[in-house]
């Protein structure tokens, strides 16, 4: 996961990165593990600047899926901070750049939701529902979007 060049570039560009390692800094591993209830490794948390958790990745993923999950968390931070236009761009980047990743269907769903929240235009949801009739039809996200079209 971590050695992937795209992952490293993405993390260094958008995050302050910290590692709590069970052997290298065991006190931090225990202290922050308890604070965030991290019971397994690897667990990767994406927190905002105030330390509020927005996304959690547990277990190994191959590079494309891992990068997509990191991008998903970064988009969720913008969405939760009500930066909806920015969130939409971040979600759409996942669908465009990593369309075969596990996170892509979720990203498509939330891109539509973010556009609706940014504009108030319900056609954003309808269009997203229509897209799910073409792509990712066998996912839970397609079911969730089915009421939009």
């Amino acid at each position: 996961m971590w050695p992937d060049e795209r992952v490293a570039r993405f993390v260094n560009e958008h995050f302050v990165a910290a590692r709590a390692h069970v052997k290298q800094n065991p006190t931090d591993f225990q202290q922050f593990g308890e604070r965030y209830q991290a019971q397994w490794t690897p667990t990767i948390l994406e927190l905002d600047a105030e330390g509020v958790e927005h996304h959690r990745i547990e277990g190994f993923l191959p590079p494309d899926d891992f990068l997509a999950q990191l991008m998903l968390g970064w988009a969720r931070i913008a969405f939760h901070q009500q930066q909806f236009a920015e969130a939409e761009q971040r979600y759409r980047a996942i669908v465009e750049q990593l369309p075969e990743s596990e996170a892509a269907a979720e990203a498509l769903y939330w891109a539509g939701a973010a556009k609706y929240k940014a504009t108030g235009d319900p056609t954003a949801l309808k269009q997203t529902g229509e897209k799910f009739k073409q792509r990712y039809r066998d996912t839970a996200w397609a079911k969730k979007a089915s009421v939009w079209s």
Binding site: V11, F15, A17, A20, K23, I44
Partner: protein
């Protein structure tokens, strides 16, 4: 390219707050 992981986690929290950047926190047991 390597990720610039910090191992002083409390200091990383302070830096993230000061820089207003999100924080990625990796709980790891991988061989170093």
């Amino acid at each position: 390219m390597k990720i610039d992981f910090r191992y002083d986690v409390a200091q990383a929290f302070k830096d993230a707050k000061q820089q207003r950047k999100p924080l990625l926190l990796d709980f790891s047991a991988a061989p170093m």
